[in-house]
Symmetry: C2
C-alpha cells in the first residue's frame, strides 16, 4: 500500500516543479471552406490515413453482423487513458487541482501558509519537496485531496473546472482535449461501443468532467481511488488519505476487471511513463479481434514533444503490433477550434 | 482487512451447516385465464397495492418531464441487493458454489479429499468448521474461490450455473429469482433507470448470471471483490486470497461510490443480517426524491420465514420511513412459473 502511494505520488507529481517548456503555438488546421458537407459523412475528419483507415476497417469488421470478426454489442468495450491520450498532460490537470486546493485552503485559513506543505507551494520552494521526498508529497496530496466528504470534493472539483485556465496556452480545460479523440469516441459509440476512461488520475476528479468533455458518464470512469468510509451520522462518504487502487500500469487491468468485468477489445494509451502497456496487453488477450493504440507525442509545434527515456511504450507497440499514433503525422488538427 | 475477511466469511457461511428447514410448497398463483391482456398494460402484475401504487407513483413523478420531482435520466440510478432481495438465500448460492468447487477439485485430485478443509466438506464434518472457526473457513474460501485466473473462474462459474439445482426446491437457479422483482427491474429500466446489483456476494459469481437472469450487464454489478493481480506472462488477472472490498453494510455505499460515482435514488434490500441499511441511508441522502424498500421474509408457505434477531432492518425502515415489502401480503406470485 505504501509502495502504491509512493508510486501514485511520483506519478502525479512528476512534472510538479518542472517548468513547462513547450511552444505555445496555436494549433494549425488544414480544414478548408466547404469541408462541412464532407465532415457529415466522415466520422473522423481530423485523422489522416493510413491509421484512420486501419481504425475504420477494424470498427467496421467487428460491428458488421455476419462478418467473421463480428463482436456482440455487449462485448464492444473501449478503454482510453486520459492524460496524454484524451487531453494534454503538460502539466497534469491533477497538479493544477492540487495548487488550486492549496490556494483555496490558505485563503480560508491563512495560518496554513506558514505550515508545510502549504508554505512550500505558496513560496514555490522546490527544495522542500526535493528534500522531503515521498513524505512531503504524501502530506500534500493527503491535505488537498482527502479528509472531506465526497460531496464536498465534488463541489470543489466543479468550482475548479469552471475557472481553471491551462498554463502556457491560456485556454479553459475544454480546449486542451484532443479533437481527433472526441471524434473517435463518438464514432465508437455510434458503432455500439461502450467507451470507458481508464486513468491514472484520481477517479472523482475525472468524473467531474467526463460527461461534459467526452460524453463519458461517471460510471464509465475507472481511475485511481482513495479509501472511502461511509459515515453514518451524515450519510456521506469520507475520503481517507490512503490509496485503494493505483490505476496505472498493472493497476489498469485490475481496475478494468473490477469496474467492467471483462477485457476491452479496443484500448488507447500514450507514451510517457509506460502507464498503458499492461492495459493494451490485457486488451490484446481478448479472444475477440482487438485493437491497441499508443499516442506518440512527437508534435512540438501543435502540442508538446516528449519521449519516454527507455521508449518502453513504443517498443511494446512495435513488438506487439499495436498501432502507433504519431500526433504530427496522423492528426490533421490537435485541439478543438 | 483481516476483520473484513472474517466478516465476509461469516456472512457467506452463516447457513453453511444449517440444514434448510423450510416448506417446499409450489408457488401459488392468483393469475386466471384472460390475464394476458391485462398484463401487457400492467408493468407490475405480481405486486399488490398499496405498495405497488407507491412504487408507480414514485417512478411516475421522477420520470415525468415537467414534474416538480423530475430526475434527469443520468441520475436515475437504482441499486438492488441480490441474496434475499432478487433471489432466494436459503441457502446462499455462494455456498452452493463453494461445495461445487470442492467436489470438482476433489474429483480432479482425489488426494485433496484427505486434506482439510476438503475432508470436512466431503465427510460433512460440521465439527471441523465449528472448532476451526475463522481460520478453517478462510482456508475453504481461499481454496475454492481464488488462486486461479479470472478466465478460469468465469468458466467454472458458467459450468456451475448450467447444472446447479436449488436444494429443497429441486429447480434450476433461474427459478429461485423473484418474479415481482424481475417486473420491477424491467419497469424501472423502461422508465430510464439504470438498474444495478449491489451484492455482498462475490462480484464475478453474480456477473456470471446477472445479464441472463436479471437483464443487468456485468458492469452494473457491484459486489465483494478479491484482490486481483495482473500477470504479465499470460496477460491474465490472478484472483488472490484476500478481500479488497467487502460489499456489505457500510461497504455497500463505498462500492456504489467507487463503481457508480453517485448516490442512487432507488434502493432495495432485505432483512436478515442488516446488510442493506447503509445502502438505503446513502440513497436517502440523495438531494433528489428517493425511494427505499426492505423485503420482509414473512412468507413461510411460498418462500421462507426468517427474521433478524434484533429486527434492525425493519426498525430502520420504520424509523426512516422506508417501504417494507411484506412478501406474504405484497406479492401475488413469488417465483416465475
Amino acid at each position: 500500500m505504501k509502495n502504491f502511494l509512493r508510486n501514485f505520488i511520483l506519478f502525479c507529481t512528476l512534472a510538479f516543479f518542472i517548468s513547462s517548456c513547450q511552444h505555445d503555438s496555436p494549433e494549425t488546421s488544414t480544414k478548408t471552406a466547404g469541408d462541412s458537407t464532407a465532415k457529415v459523412k466522415d466520422p473522423l475528419p481530423s485523422w489522416n490515413d493510413p491509421l484512420k483507415k486501419d481504425i475504420m476497417d477494424y470498427v467496421e469488421k467487428v460491428s458488421k453482423e455476419g462478418s467473421p470478426d463480428f463482436v456482440p454489442v455487449k462485448d464492444r468495450i473501449a478503454t482510453f487513458d486520459n492524460d496524454g491520450t484524451l487531453w494534454a498532460e503538460m502539466p497534469l490537470v491533477q497538479e493544477l487541482f492540487a495548487y488550486y486546493r492549496v490556494r483555496k485552503m490558505v485563503t480560508a485559513n491563512p495560518a496554513l501558509a506558514k505550515k508545510q506543505p502549504f508554505l512550500a507551494v505558496v513560496t514555490k520552494d522546490k527544495a522542500y519537496f526535493e528534500k522531503g521526498g515521498e513524505k512531503a508529497l504524501v502530506q500534500l496530496v493527503a491535505a488537498t485531496h482527502t479528509g472531506m466528504t465526497e460531496d464536498q470534493f465534488e463541489a470543489d472539483a466543479k468550482d475548479f473546472f469552471a475557472s481553471a485556465v491551462y498554463p502556457g496556452r491560456n485556454v479553459p480545460l475544454s480546449k486542451i482535449v484532443y479533437q481527433p479523440q472526441l471524434e473517435l469516441l463518438a464514432y465508437l459509440r455510434a458503432n455500439g461501443f461502450m467507451t470507458y476512461i481508464v486513468t491514472g488520475g484520481t477517479i472523482e476528479l475525472v468524473r467531474a468532467i467526463s460527461d461534459t468533455l467526452y460524453g463519458v458518464p461517471k460510471n464509465q470512469v475507472v481511475g485511481t481511488t482513495f479509501k472511502y468510509a461511509f459515515v453514518d451520522s451524515n450519510r456521506s462518504i469520507l475520503r481517507e488519505p490512503a490509496i485503494d487502487l493505483l490505476c496505472d500500469k498493472a493497476g489498469k487491468p485490475v481496475g478494468i476487471q473490477v469496474h467492467i468485468g471483462q477485457r476491452p477489445i479496443f484500448s488507447a494509451g500514450n507514451e510517457r511513463s509506460s502507464g498503458d502497456i499492461e492495459m493494451c496487453k490485457f486488451c490484446q488477450g481478448n479472444h475477440y479481434p482487438s485493437f491497441q493504440m499508443i499516442v506518440n507525442h512527437n508534435d512540438s509545434l501543435r502540442e508538446y514533444y516528449y519521449q519516454e527515456k527507455d521508449s518502453a511504450s513504443l517498443k511494446a507497440a512495435v513488438q506487439n503490433k499495436w498501432h502507433i499514433m504519431n500526433m504530427k503525422e496522423d492528426w490533421k488538427t490537435v485541439f478543438p477550434q
